[in-house]
């Protein structure tokens, strides 16, 4: 039973709307949390998005000019006007989610084989959020994540090889093996980490968003995106009780920063149920308290997430300011690979496993004739090959040399990691002695 059904219906928040030529003005209605049978989550313009599992004959559509692009669609007359995405987009989404899932499963295998170690937190079940949001970004946009960051990094374009090598602690990893599972960074992909500490990334994302706005408006640097570079901050339900979250909501709205706050509400913070830890468990309502729109969305449905994400990102890019998006999602595995996961009830897990985002998208694709079963299988095979290649690459890569231990503490290596003779201090034979001066 969905935990959200316990939440009572709420009155509509006063959120700003943006009218476009193709919008359908609909009366506003309450936003109860969606269960598969109920009304879908709202978009910023008060209209319901398509339900992936719905069998209703004429679903309300979130009409957006981006969807009805001039891209080619599969010509299947009966389904021509129903698919929300083009074939290419659908396959991209499918491949990204399949990559995330396979990668995480491989992580678990490697962990139990002792190839990687430390605290590893897997993302299984939440792929729709990462894919739905991040695949819409331009290269100049930034993503800030949490310790559950492997799939965010993959969606942003960090190669699976680099992520896997980082997990193994090898020098070819994206952070040269320095950070491990919880600290993925990639400057070329504008992936700002990887934070073990909950809530620590949100102010960092806020700063990055400020920088984007400053560059654009004050320094007059044009971005290839045609607007502001957007920053996405991902975090969980537990973080929404942390001071940093609220401080940043305030700052972001005050300065109208191009940022989207994405809450991955998977109902649990290790062993603490969100409902028992939060006075008002409806997180998206906290956005309007700071003056920004708050939107709930079914985080197990990648197309719905994508619809909401599009609007939120467009808002940010055009300078209208931040948005708080709450995605109802679920992690299929425990908090980390060391978590026995005893506290979550089996029927809750079963409820969400039935809403597996990848299976749902697969069904959608097949129903709308966007691709054939064999094409999807081909994608899965391709993904498996990529993952296997990543593992082989990571295995074959060397561990970092000891000298790397002292690098990058400060900007000036000679000020710290290098001795007066010009060599790294750890190569000094007296290094193992307590008398080595560092």
């Amino acid at each position: 039973m969905s935990a959200f059904s316990a939440v009572k219906s709420l009155s509509t928040p006063t959120i700003t709307t943006r009218s476009t030529p193709s919008s359908n003005p609909k009366p506003s209605f309450p936003f109860p949390f969606p269960s598969p049978a109920s009304a879908g989550a709202g978009s910023l313009r008060h209209s319901a998005a398509i339900r992936l599992n719905s069998s209703s004959p004429s679903p309300l559509r979130a009409v957006s000019s981006h969807v009805l692009s001039d891209e080619q669609r599969v010509t299947s007359p009966s389904n021509h006007d129903k698919a929300l995405v083009t074939r290419r987009e659908a396959l991209d989404l499918y491949e990204d989610m399949a990559l995330g899932r396979s990668f995480e499963d491989m992580c678990a295998q490697m962990y139990y084989r002792g190839k990687m170690f430390g605290f590893v937190h897997l993302y299984n079940g939440q792929e729709a959020v990462s894919t739905g949001f991040i695949r819409l970004l331009q290269p100049g946009d930034a993503v800030v994540s949490t310790y559950r960051d492997h799939v965010h990094a993959l969606s942003k374009g960090v190669p699976a090889r680099a992520v896997m090598a980082e997990l193994f602690g090898k020098t070819t990893g994206c952070c040269r093996g320095q950070g491990g599972s919880m600290h993925m960074f990639s400057a070329p992909h504008n992936f700002l980490g990887g934070f073990a500490f909950i809530g620590e990334g949100i102010p960092v994302a806020t700063g990055a968003a400020f920088s984007s706005r400053y560059r654009h408006e004050v320094l007059k640097e044009a971005s290839p995106s045609g607007g502001l570079d957007v920053t996405l901050a991902f975090f969980g339900d537990g973080t929404c009780n942390n001071g940093q979250f609220f401080e940043c909501l305030n700052m972001a709205q005050l300065w109208k920063l191009p940022i989207v706050f994405v809450v991955e509400n998977n109902l649990w913070a290790i062993g603490m149920s969100h409902l028992r830890a939060t006075s008002d468990p409806v997180i998206w309502k906290k956005g309007p308290a700071f003056g920004m729109p708050g939107v709930p969305v079914d985080g197990m449905d990648v197309l719905k997430v994508r619809e909401v994400a599009k609007e939120a990102i467009e808002r940010a890019r055009s300078g209208e300011g931040p948005t708080l998006v709450e995605c109802e999602t679920y992690r299929f595995r425990g908090h980390s690979l060391a978590d026995p996961d005893e506290l979550r009830k089996p029927d809750e897990k079963a409820h969400y496993t039935a809403r597996d985002p990848i299976l749902a998208l697969k069904k959608y694709i097949l129903e709308h004739d966007l691709a054939s079963e064999s094409e999807l299988k081909g994608i899965e095979k391709k993904v498996d090959d990529v993952i296997e290649d990543a593992v082989e690459f990571a295995d074959a890569s060397p561990f970092p040399p000891r000298s790397q231990l002292l690098e990058n503490v400060f900007a000036d290596p000679k000020g710290f990691g290098v001795g007066p003779d010009g060599k790294y201090r750890c190569e000094d034979p007296k290094f193992t002695e307590g008398t080595a001066q560092v």
Binding site: I198, I270, M272, A277, L405, V409, E433, V438
Partner: protein
């Protein structure tokens, strides 16, 4: 009667818990249990004996991520043992408020690495409450427990040793146990002490350290260091999990005829200067070892104080074998840590100075 520890002869990573020879206290009976069970017992006793004692923190309800709070919620109820939301600053401030109103607040910070948001409350409020209210209010009932230290695979944010930051705050006590029996006695003493205490538990030892711990209520004195092993050539001072490393070094260097005196500081602030000074007057040499980075670590305070007090007696400079001045690394942990070999080298260098 010698107390036995589990893992004698088995090394896990570079650590292993082995026997200590008790010098001070008479032997006490007890069942062999590990560190988290000892702490659990201490908490049960604390809540039993004081109806206004509370235990709270993240995930403590089901027993905590290290099982230190198992059974407390069931036994004492969710009014006294409860989960807090994820906000360390809030937890610390809330604990201070509880303590200021005369309760015993036992707050848990899930990892010492996460104590920094609470740092402001602890330093600015807890430490100064009695002072600035002219003794009208105090938060002596406050105890903050937190697992600290390396665990082999913790990486940047599950391995830090922040004790030095708190040692710099007048008004606060910092206590670190080395073993289950010490932990239970020291924790009960901290909870009942009339000053705010930060109690760091070496997380590496939660399961690894096993010792016979008496089941009754007992306390060990704060601000009293314990000489674990007598010696005549050099004094070694440490705390927490590092003591087992020092102990191994002692054993090994004994084969070369160097006799080491090993001291567990137990309370870092206010620390027992007299015991350490007396020992250094005997041996003439001092080595301090801790996991935290060497620069500005608590070893610096010990070194400076002993240099002041025993300058003419010292036969060699005070050696500090500590973590390196880098953020706590992930894969390089074995290089970063103050290992037995580093300690051995330093002992020999100091003795042969």
């Amino acid at each position: 009667m010698t107390l036995r520890g589990l893992g004698r002869g088995i090394s896990i990573g570079k650590r292993c818990f082995s026997s200590f020879t008790e010098v001070e206290k008479p032997p006490m009976d007890g069942k062999p249990i590990n560190l988290f069970s000892a702490i659990n017992q201490a908490l049960h006793i604390a809540l039993e004996t004081d109806p206004r004692a509370y235990v709270f923190g993240e995930d403590v309800g089901f027993g905590g991520v290290f099982r230190c709070t198992t059974g407390l919620a069931d036994r004492f109820g969710r009014n006294r043992v409860f989960n807090t939301p994820l906000c360390e600053q809030g937890i610390a401030g809330f604990a201070i408020g509880l303590a200021a109103m005369g309760n015993r607040a036992i707050a848990e910070i899930q990892f010492a690495d996460y104590i920094y948001p609470a740092f402001d409350q602890i330093v600015n409020e807890a430490a100064k409450f009695r002072y600035r209210s002219g003794n009208q209010f105090n938060c002596g009932g406050l105890t903050i427990r937190s697992p600290y230290g390396a665990v082999g695979h913790g990486g940047h944010y599950h391995s830090q040793s922040p004790e030095a930051f708190f040692c710099h705050v007048p008004g606060l006590k910092v206590v670190i146990p080395r073993s289950p029996r010490q932990a239970k006695g020291l924790l009960l003493a901290c909870i009942r002490d009339s000053n705010p205490v930060v109690f760091f538990e070496p997380k590496w030892l939660y399961r690894l350290a096993v010792e016979e711990v008496p089941e009754h209520d007992y306390m060990l004195p704060l601000s009293q260091a314990e000489v674990i092993r007598q010696g005549s050539d050099i004094t070694l001072v440490g705390w927490g999990a590092q003591l087992s490393v020092l102990e191994h070094a002692c054993d090994e260097v004994a084969k070369d005829g160097i006799s080491c005196e090993l001291i567990d500081l137990r309370t870092l602030i206010p620390w027992d200067k007299e015991t350490v000074e007396a020992s250094v007057r005997k041996t003439g040499r001092l080595l301090v070892s801790h996991e935290a980075p060497v620069t500005g670590g608590f070893g610096a305070e010990i070194s400076a104080s002993i240099a002041e007090r025993c300058f003419l007696r010292l036969e060699a400079p005070v050696a500090r074998i500590c973590g390196l001045d880098t953020p706590f690394p992930l894969v390089y942990e074995p290089f970063y840590m103050p290992t037995k070999n580093k300690v051995l080298d330093a002992i020999k260098a100091t003795v042969n100075y």
